[in-house]
């Protein structure tokens, strides 16, 4: 495999994890525009652990996921009081707050960034990305995921059938933050250099876009969205300077034709449930 394609494949895997981190939170009806912050936390923490303390990468990723998940839970509590666009704005503010923290965090390079990480293979990135995608696809059949969807569809009614909506929403935030941290750790060890600008608002928007474009009601939608966001601009290279404009136009067309995203549950039912009525 050429370096070029390997790089693209790694980008897809990393974006997929970021998209899944948004997907998990969105499954409970909460839109986070700040997941790049959790990605940044994961990137800096794993890098510190591997470079400064010599912790193996896998262990570092797990530690970062747990730490970021705990921060996600803490962020999830004030998020309970906000809905829709207000929650989106608050998470955006959180994202910028974390980015500027790293900008001023001179112990890890501040604006100059941090390096010294050992490069990881595309295979390693995809072991994590595919593993987490499959795990979520399995979880989607569980009682817990049904509870998340119930909260998404009607929070009041969910409470009145005995679901603890607070626990559901906060846990989803924590789980999303954990996945975003793994995304960040892999990103850091793929590029072997990180700076605060890597974890800005545009990154959070990419995550959300991948989910919305691919389909926000099924986990593989995040995969399709990530694939398109990484590959389409490359395929449009012949348009030279116009490629990003063409990419934007294509995005709009897709969303006009399929507002629910490319994949959705009813499409899945048609494709997979013939002769298997569950």
């Amino acid at each position: 495999m050429s370096t070029y394609y390997a790089g693209l494949l790694a980008d897809v895997g990393i974006l997929l994890l970021g998209a899944l981190s948004v997907y998990i939170i969105l499954a409970t009806g909460q839109l986070s525009l700040g997941n790049a912050a959790f990605m940044g936390i994961g990137a800096y923490l794993t890098s510190y652990l591997t470079v400064e303390l010599g912790v193996p990468i896998t262990a570092a990723l797990v530690i970062a996921a747990l730490a970021s998940g705990a921060i996600g839970v803490v962020v999830g509590f004030p998020a309970l009081r906000l809905k829709g666009i207000y929650l989106a704005m608050a998470t955006l503010g959180f994202g910028e707050m974390v980015r500027s923290f790293f900008l001023n965090f001179s112990a890890m390079g501040g604006a100059g960034g941090f390096h010294g990480m050992k490069h990881i293979s595309v295979g390693y990135i995809w072991t994590w990305a595919a593993g987490i995608l499959l795990l979520i696809m399995l979880l989607e059949h569980s009682r817990v995921w049904l509870e998340m969807r119930a909260v998404h569809d009607d929070e009041t009614a969910a409470g009145l059938v005995g679901l603890n909506t607070t626990v559901t929403k906060v846990t989803a935030f924590g789980a999303g933050a954990a996945v975003a941290a793994i995304c960040g750790g892999l990103f850091a060890h793929h590029h072997v250099y990180i700076e605060p600008g890597n974890f800005g608002f545009e990154r959070s928007v990419d995550f959300v876009l991948a989910v919305i474009l691919g389909g926000s009601t099924v986990a593989p939608g995040a995969f399709v969205g990530s694939l398109l966001i990484v590959l389409l601009p490359e395929m449009l290279r012949s348009l030279a300077d116009w490629r990003l404009a063409a990419f934007g136009a294509l995005l709009i067309v897709v969303l006009l034709v399929r507002r629910q995203g490319i994949l959705d549950r009813s499409l899945f039912r048609i494709m997979t449930l013939r002769g298997n009525p569950t």
Partner: protein
């Protein structure tokens, strides 16, 4: 005041709830005995739905107490009240729009299983839950729409799904907010038969309904609410003959 006999399952005592200066409920006292169907009637804006909302914890009462099975519930959050044994339906149906009928029945099951089981695919997790869901599905005759998304179902079917979801949680008390609104006579009769069957199985039911014939034929006991005040109570024949009720409700409605 003669409340219905035996220790009641649900008792409201002096419950008051005001919104701004408007008293939606003023010192309301009533009871639902074990295994009976109790109706609340009254004109629009009488406070009937507010009463459901304070019972289920959506609103906090200003004064008064609400006791379920000997346990005060006014300070409990909604999900705890639900787990303590109260399920409800809504006047304007509130289903989980994107979920199938079957998924509604799984998600509303009582909360007994371990955390691990709740993370496993539902079809392996808990055979007892699947059996329970199947029972409820058959009881309400919803087998044909098992895998349909709730949002896509006709109105009358959605009402049944909402009741089925409420029953799946194995409540002690079922609150129904206008269960036959918008249904034709035949459909309403079907619901009546189901409710009687549930009552005979030991369930207690408190319902709000505007369809007077339906209420009179179904309820063991009636309360009449007008401008947040309980103005009458009794068996349906007693209530029907009460001049205050005729004045406040039946006269105006007819």
């Amino acid at each position: 005041m003669t409340a219905p006999a035996h220790a009641p399952l649900l008792a409201l005592d002096g419950v008051t709830k005001a919104f701004g200066g408007v008293h939606a409920l003023s010192r309301v006292t009533c009871a639902v005995p074990q295994g009976q169907i109790v109706g609340i009637i009254g004109p629009n804006g009488a406070g009937k739905t507010t009463m459901f909302n304070v019972i289920t914890g959506a609103f906090r009462v200003d004064t008064g107490t609400i006791v379920l099975d000997g346990r005060p519930i006014i300070h409990e959050p909604s999900h705890r009240i639900a787990r303590a044994g109260i399920s409800r339906t809504f006047q304007n149906i509130r289903l989980f729009g994107e979920m199938t009928v079957w998924e509604h029945l799984l998600v509303a099951q009582p909360h007994g299983e371990s955390a691990l089981r709740r993370l496993l695919p539902t079809r392996w997790a808990d055979p007892a839950a699947l059996r329970r869901a199947q029972e409820v599905l058959e009881f309400f005759g919803l087998e044909d729409v098992r895998d349909r998304v709730a949002r896509s179902l006709p109105y009358g079917t959605q009402r049944k799904v909402e009741m089925a979801r409420a029953i799946t949680a194995r409540p002690k008390l079922l609150l129904l907010d206008e269960p036959v609104a918008g249904m034709n006579h035949e459909e309403a009769e079907g619901i009546r038969a189901l409710l009687l069957q549930l009552r005979d199985g030991g369930l207690s039911i408190l319902l709000i309904e505007h369809d007077m014939a339906f209420v009179m034929n179904l309820c063991d006991f009636l309360y009449v609410l007008d401008f947040g005040v309980m103005i009458a109570q009794g068996r349906s024949d007693e209530v029907r003959a009460n001049p205050k009720v005729l004045d406040a409700y039946l006269g105006r409605a007819a």
